[in-house]
C-alpha cells in the first residue's frame, strides 16, 4: 500500500514554492481560488490513489485544527 510522502522531495523546494506564489500573484481572491481548485484536481488525479488523497486531506485538516483550536 502506498502512503503519503511527507519527506521533502523537491531538490529545490524554494523554487517550487515560488512557482505557486508566482501563479497567484496579481490574482483576486476569487481567481486564486479558481486556480487552486483546478490545481487540486490536476494533482489529485496525478496521484491517482484514493488512500493517499485521503491521507493528504487528513493532514491538511489536522494542520488547520492545530492552528485554530476549537474550529472544525
Amino acid at each position: 500500500m502506498s502512503a503519503l510522502i511527507t519527506d521533502s522531495r523537491f531538490p529545490d523546494p524554494d523554487r517550487a514554492y515560488r512557482a505557486l506564489i508566482d501563479a497567484h500573484r496579481g490574482l483576486s481572491d476569487e481567481r486564486s481560488a479558481a486556480l487552486n481548485s483546478r490545481l487540486v484536481l490536476i494533482l489529485a488525479n496525478h496521484i491517482g490513489d484514493q488512500a493517499v488523497l485521503q491521507e493528504a486531506l487528513t493532514l491538511a485538516k489536522q494542520s488547520m485544527a492545530q492552528q485554530e483550536p476549537g474550529a472544525d
Binding site: A33, A34, S37, R38, V40, L41, I42, N45
Partner: protein
C-alpha cells in the same frame, strides 16, 4: 397547470374478507401498487404463492415520475411477462450529450454490447409501466388487487401481522404471515412501526416539466451545465413516448415552488430553452430531493421494499430501477419460505443484499446531486474547475457527473459459494448473469435468461462424465446450443464448467469440475440452510 388527466381508473370492489366475522389469513399481503409492490406481487404469484395487493388509490397516471428504465430492470420485467409492451411503447436511447453553456463538452454512447435481449435503457412514462404491470397482475388468478384499500393500522405478532384496512365501506381486519411494505417514500407502515428514515436532504429545488411537441431533437439525453437559457443552473432534456419531452430545471434553494409552477413563469423559461413556443405543457411540478434509507429492511414479518425502504434523488434513475430489483430479490426468498422450502433466515440475505445495493445507489445519486447542485462557493469552484478541465483532459471528463446510470449490484453474500478457481469473462459471482443468444433443442433461438426462467438452475458444459443430477440442469450443447460462442466467452466456459444460478438469475457458484456434493451444498445456501454466517 396540468392538462393530463389520470389515465387509468380502477373500481373499488367489496371483497369476501370484509364480510367475515374473524379476519381472513393470507400467506403474503403486499401494501402499495406502485411499480415495486406490483412486481413483488406478480413475482410471488408466478411462483405459486397467493397474494393480496392493497392500494389506497384507484387510479394510475396522475403525476409524472420515473421515465428511465435500465437493462437489468427490463430483464426482470421480461421474466414477469411485461417487457414486451414496455419495449413496444418505450423509446430506446443510447446517446447522451453534456453541454456547458452553448458548447458540447462531450458525448457518450452507452454502446450496448451485442447478444443481449434487452437494450441498455428505455424511456417510458411510469404510468405506462404501472399499467402494463396491472394488466399482468389481473391475468394471474392467485393475485388479488384491492383498490381503495388503505392500510391504517398494523399489529405485529410472532408469526405474522394483522392489518387494519380502510375502504369506502368502512374498515376490516386481515391477517398476513408476511407483509411487504411497498407503500412508497411516505410509507405509513414505516410510521406505524416507529422507524426512522434517515439521510440527506438536498436544498435545491428542481422543476420537472413534461412538454408535448413535435421537435427535431433526436432521442438522446441532453444535459446542460450553466445553459444560456437558464444561467448558473443545470437543465436536462430527455425524450419519452407520445412526443413528450421531460425537462428538469434546477431552480436553486430559494425558489418559491408555487410561483415557479405558474404558467407565466414556466412558459417563458421553456420557450427560451426550446427556441420556440410550439409546445403544450402536460405536467409541471417542483421537487426537492432526498437520499435516505431505513436502517433495516426486515422487521419481523414486515419487509420493506422500494421507496418505502430507501429513497434517492432521480439523477441516475435509480428509484424504480432499484425498487424493482428489491422485488426480484425478495420474491423468490419469500416464496421459498412461504412454501416451507427454506429457513426463515433466508430473509436476512434480502436485508443484507438490498441494503448494500441501496447504499451504492444512494452513494451514486448523492455524488451526482453534489456535482449538479453544488452547495457552497468552493463546491461550485471545484465543479467549474472540473468542467473547464474536461475540455482538455480525459481525467476531468470522467469526473463530470450529470447522473451515473443505474447498474445492478454484485452481491457479496453468504448465499454465494466462494470461487475456488480463477475465472475470466463478464460473468461475476453474485452478479446477474450476462445474457447470451442460444438455440434450444429444436434449433429455435432462445435467450439464455429466458431459458432460465426464474428457477434455480444448473448450467453444465459436458466433459464426457455424468452431468449433475437434479431437476433443473441445462446442458450446454444439448438443451442450449451456444452457436455464437458468446456463452463460452462471457462465462469463460470449458468442458466440465458448471454454474449454479439463483432464481433471480444471479450467479451463486461455479466450478471447473463440479462434484454433486459441492452443488448440493451451494444449493443449500440458497435455502438459508448453510454458510449463512460466511
Amino acid at each position: 397547470m396540468n392538462t393530463r388527466k389520470s389515465l387509468y381508473q380502477f373500481g373499488y370492489r367489496r371483497c369476501a374478507d370484509q364480510d367475515r366475522s374473524s379476519p381472513a389469513r393470507h400467506p403474503v399481503v403486499v401494501v402499495g401498487a406502485g411499480p415495486v409492490g406490483l412486481c413483488t406481487a406478480i413475482d410471488l404469484a408466478q411462483r405459486g404463492v397467493p397474494v393480496v395487493l392493497l392500494d389506497d388509490a384507484d387510479r394510475i397516471g396522475e403525476g409524472s415520475r420515473g421515465i428511465c428504465y435500465a437493462k437489468r430492470t427490463l430483464e426482470i420485467l421480461d421474466r414477469l411477462g411485461v417487457a414486451e409492451p414496455c419495449l413496444a411503447k418505450g423509446v430506446t436511447w443510447k446517446l447522451g450529450k453534456v453541454f456547458q453553456r452553448d458548447d458540447l463538452l462531450y458525448a457518450f454512447d452507452l454502446l450496448p454490447e451485442d447478444g443481449h435481449k434487452m437494450p441498455a435503457f428505455i424511456n417510458l412514462q411510469q404510468y405506462y409501466l404501472e399499467h402494463a404491470l396491472v394488466e399482468r397482475a389481473a391475468a394471474l388468478p392467485n393475485l388479488e388487487i384491492r383498490w381503495r384499500n388503505k392500510v391504517v393500522g398494523l399489529n405485529r405478532r410472532n408469526d405474522g401481522v394483522t392489518l387494519t384496512v380502510e375502504t369506502p365501506d368502512g374498515s376490516y381486519a386481515v391477517e398476513a404471515d408476511w407483509t411487504v411494505a411497498a407503500d412508497g417514500a411516505r410509507s405509513g407502515i414505516r410510521g406505524m412501526l416507529g422507524l426512522a428514515f434517515q439521510g440527506e436532504a438536498f436544498e435545491d429545488r428542481f422543476l420537472i416539466a413534461d412538454v408535448k411537441m413535435k421537435g427535431d431533437f433526436p432521442p438522446e439525453r441532453w444535459f446542460w451545465f450553466d445553459p444560456p437559457f437558464h444561467e448558473g443552473r443545470s437543465a436536462l432534456l430527455h425524450k419519452q413516448p407520445d412526443d413528450v419531452w421531460r425537462i428538469d430545471l434546477q431552480l436553486g434553494p430559494d425558489a418559491d415552488a408555487k410561483a415557479e409552477q405558474a404558467p407565466e413563469r414556466v412558459l417563458p423559461r421553456l420557450r427560451q430553452m426550446l427556441g420556440h413556443d410550439d409546445f403544450a405543457l402536460e405536467w409541471v411540478s417542483v421537487y426537492t430531493f432526498q437520499c435516505r434509507r431505513l436502517e433495516r429492511f426486515v422487521h419481523g414479518r414486515v419487509v420493506f421494499a422500494g421507496d418505502a425502504a430507501h429513497q434517492v434523488s432521480p439523477f441516475g434513475a435509480r428509484g424504480a430501477n432499484s425498487g424493482i430489483q428489491d422485488a426480484d430479490n425478495l420474491a423468490w426468498k419469500l416464496a421459498r419460505i412461504a412454501r416451507g422450502e427454506a429457513s426463515e433466515s433466508l430473509i436476512d440475505s434480502y436485508d443484507l443484499e438490498r441494503s448494500t445495493a441501496a447504499d451504492e445507489n444512494i452513494g451514486h445519486s448523492t455524488r451526482s446531486t453534489d456535482f449538479i447542485a453544488p452547495r457552497s462557493s468552493q463546491e461550485l469552484r471545484f465543479r467549474d474547475a472540473a468542467l473547464a478541465l474536461a475540455r482538455h483532459t480525459p481525467f476531468a471528463k470522467r469526473m463530470v457527473n450529470s447522473g451515473r446510470l443505474s447498474l445492478p449490484s454484485t452481491y457479496e453474500t453468504p448465499l454465494s459459494t466462494p470461487d475456488r478457481e480463477a475465472w475470466s469473462g463478464s460473468a461475476h459471482l453474485g452478479a446477474p448473469l450476462p445474457d447470451a443468444p442460444m438455440r434450444d433443442r429444436s434449433g429455435q433461438p432462445v435467450w439464455l435468461l429466458e431459458a432460465l426462467k426464474g428457477e434455480e438452475t444448473v448450467l453444465h458444459v459436458p466433459n464426457g462424465q455424468e452431468p449433475p443430477a437434479g431437476l433443473n440442469v441445462l446442458v450446454i450443447g444439448e438443451d442450449l446450443v451456444d452457436e455464437s460462442g458468446l456463452f463460452a466467452q462471457r462465462f469463460d466456459a470449458a468442458p466440465g464448467s458448471t454454474y449454479l444460478v439463483r432464481p433471480d438469475q444471479h450467479l451463486a457458484a461455479r466450478w471447473r469440475y463440479a462434484d454433486p456434493e459441492a452443488i448440493q451444498s451451494a444449493s443449500r445456501r440458497l435455502r438459508g440452510l448453510a454458510g449463512v454466517t460466511a
